[in-house]
């Protein structure tokens, strides 16, 4: 396990010394590959523990670790092409590129700590560290909007996380002599003081919910995710939100379902409804994607709240959302650079001018909107089926209606941008290192839609048993 922590540190050190965007990106790519390789090697000998009570990597942590490492690798490859273009155009100097690679590796280090943490207070420290290490990425360009976004992000998330710490204090009161590790807590379920446990869960939900972007605590998210450079936006939306989700999942086995389930459903529906309205009137492509992240976190929380058959579907949706959202942020980042605008209206006729980007964007839009044959269709459908069979009819119907609205909006934006007449301006040449990672992601989305591997399905069943309510 120490290797997991050393790789990003080493990559950050390489970035400090790098002389060109290529060298810095190479260090990050090697660091990311190291984490992936180490994760593959460890996968057969789970659970692993280290540092006494502090660290433990179980299957659930491993699932999230694979997501973090995989997305990091894809984004690292992409960042080479992205920053090469940015520096060639004089948007960014080498010092900023160096900064990006240092912070992104430290950011990954903090996320690796979140997934490996065993003690919940240590996990809290790691989640707060993710905020601190990602804030400099948001104002990397150093413009007004970026600073405004970073300021909001830092303040709102720090306060949110402070609430989660109150949750930990209440939890330690509820737990009495039990240590605050997730294994001890799930073993002690039913023996904890119910009053403090309920308070604790509420604060965990509000605190980590802020970090996940659940409505109504989501206000920082569209700003932060739209201002960061594209590969960082992809990491923020694609994996950071998942890490906050994992922190919330860890406490669920201790909490009675009769209390937790309605709250999760409520926050879930709210987090789908608020973005459904705002997605319909978006003008900025990156803000559109950021709102869609809030919506998808809502879907996942809703599925966890439904319980039963919806739970494995919700965990599968974590994977599907990450793949599709990272794909979209990467393609959008490339398009924003080539068209020179984030305004949706000014981007049109992509298919005519850049056919491959057009296919990638439209595929990504269909995937994020939950259309077959992409993976998210099955996970969203599984959550709906789980809700209905669990007797949550009203919430299921609301979910279905909101999804239909969002599907319509996305299809409208997608077809508006991809089809139609091209821009009068000539686009710059396609950048291989920007398009290749996106192609890999689109193929994965499609593959998960056509065929969910039996091994993955069994894994999700096992994982969902470990996050079941007490």
């Amino acid at each position: 396990m120490p290797f997991l922590f050393l790789m990003p540190l080493a990559a950050a050190a390489v970035a400090l010394l790098a002389r060109s965007p290529g060298q810095a990106a190479l260090g990050t790519v090697i660091g990311a590959s190291g984490i992936v390789a180490d994760a593959v090697l460890m996968a057969s000998s789970l659970p692993l523990s280290g540092g006494g009570d502090l660290f433990r990597l179980d299957e659930l942590g491993m699932y999230f670790l694979f997501l973090v490492a995989g997305v990091h690798l894809v984004c690292a490859v992409y960042s080479y092409g992205y920053f090469r273009r940015e520096t060639e155009r004089g948007h960014l100097g080498m010092s900023k590129v160096r900064k990006y690679h240092v912070w992104i590796n430290l950011f990954v280090l903090s996320m690796v700590s979140v997934v490996c943490a065993h003690h919940l207070a240590l996990q809290w420290v790691a989640v707060e560290a993710t905020t601190l290490f990602s804030a400099p990425l948001i104002y990397l360009h150093g413009d007004r909007k970026g600073m405004e976004a970073a300021w909001k992000y830092l303040l709102i998330c720090s306060v949110g996380i402070a609430f989660a710490f109150l949750g930990i204090i209440f939890l330690s009161r509820a737990a009495g002599d039990f240590p605050l590790t997730y294994t001890a807590l799930s073993a002690a379920a039913g023996k904890l003081d119910p009053r403090f446990l309920r308070l604790s869960f509420l604060f965990f939900l509000v605190g980590y919910g802020t970090k996940m972007g659940l409505a109504p605590m989501h206000t920082w998210l569209p700003d932060a995710h739209s201002q960061a450079p594209a590969p960082a936006s992809a990491m923020l939306s694609g994996v950071l939100l998942n890490c906050a989700l994992l922190a919330l999942l860890r406490i669920l086995p201790a909490v009675p379902g009769s209390y937790a389930s309605p709250l999760l459903i409520l926050f879930g529906i709210a987090s789908i409804a608020v973005p459904a309205l705002l997605i319909a009137v978006q003008r900025d492509i990156k803000r559109l994607l950021a709102f869609s992240s809030i919506e998808n976190m809502g879907i996942i929380v809703l599925g966890i709240g439904f319980g039963g058959g919806a739970r494995p579907a919700a965990l599968l949706h974590v994977l599907n959302h990450s793949l599709a959202k990272v794909l979209l942020f990467l393609v959008a980042g490339d398009l924003v650079l080539r068209y020179g605008t984030q305004r949706i209206q000014r981007i049109h006729g992509i298919f005519r001018q850049a056919p491959l980007s057009g296919v990638l964007l439209f595929g990504g839009v269909l995937a994020i909107a939950g259309s077959p044959p992409f993976g998210s269709f099955w996970s969203e459908f599984g959550i709906l089926a789980g809700g209905i069979s669990g007797g949550r009819l009203a919430a299921s119907l609301a979910y279905l209606a909101l999804l239909a609205v969002i599907f319509g909006s996305f299809l409208m934006y997608g077809s508006g941008m991809v089809f139609g007449d091209g821009n009068p301006r000539k686009l710059s040449a396609p950048e291989l290192w920007c398009l290749l990672p996106a192609c890999v992601l689109l193929v994965s989305c499609l593959w998960l839609g056509l065929h969910v591997p039996a091994g993955l399905y069994r894994l999700l069943e096992r994982l969902s048993a470990t996050v079941a309510f007490s």
Binding site: L132, A149, V159, I169
Partner: protein
């Protein structure tokens, strides 16, 4: 122990109701130093642990954070006054009402005498920190509100007996320090690009 708690509470209330920035930062620093004595007052733990925690608390909350805030106010030429969305009178009344609410809430937690006082004082600080963050206009006063909130959580946690191993406790301090440090850097950067520190005017990002 009780005297310490009452002092912490009074300092917190001073920060919450004063309309001048420098005295508020001085009270905040004193509060940080007094918080450092909390681990020493707890006789159950080992003395090494208590001494380390004391040093970390005084270093981060008593010295480093107030230094960052003082530097920010003097370097950025931020005026002496806090600007608030509500009047000083309304501020004092609201803070009083929040303190009352905190004491009422804590009477239901089933803690013993001095712990109950500590928890209630902590909760009051949490509430008044949140109030400062929502009603004060200048960026530096929002950071002060955040630190008051954190101090409140620290006191609340100490009173309700939550203790973690030393690496975790130190991690918590490191996080807080880096958070305030980053906020300080951002304040400088925002000041340079916006030439004002009024968060009311920072709203170019909206839908």
């Amino acid at each position: 122990m009780n005297t310490l708690t009452v002092l912490l509470l009074l300092l917190g209330i001073h920060v919450a109701v004063t309309d001048r920035i420098r005295p508020a930062i001085r009270s905040l620093a004193l509060q940080g130093i007094l918080l450092g004595f909390l681990p020493l007052a707890d006789s159950a733990g080992s003395s090494w642990r208590a001494a380390t925690l004391c040093l970390a608390t005084v270093g981060v909350k008593g010295i480093a954070i107030p230094a960052i805030l003082t530097r920010a106010t003097s370097r950025l030429g931020i005026g002496q006054e806090f600007e608030s969305l509500i009047s000083t009178k309304a501020n004092i009344l609201t803070t009083g009402a929040l303190a009352l609410a905190a004491f009422l809430a804590c009477s239901r937690f089933g803690l013993s005498g001095s712990d109950e006082l500590g928890a209630a004082a902590g909760l009051t600080l949490i509430f008044s920190g949140l109030l400062m963050m929502t009603t004060r206009v200048k960026a530096v006063s929002q950071v002060i509100g955040f630190v008051v909130l954190e101090n409140g959580i620290f006191l609340f946690g100490a009173a309700s007996g939550s203790e973690f191993t030393l690496p975790i406790e130190l991690g918590i301090f490191l996080d807080l320090f880096v958070a305030v440090f980053l906020m300080g850097i951002l304040m400088f950067k925002i000041h340079r690009t916006f030439t004002h520190m009024d968060v009311r005017k920072i709203h170019t990002l909206k839908d």
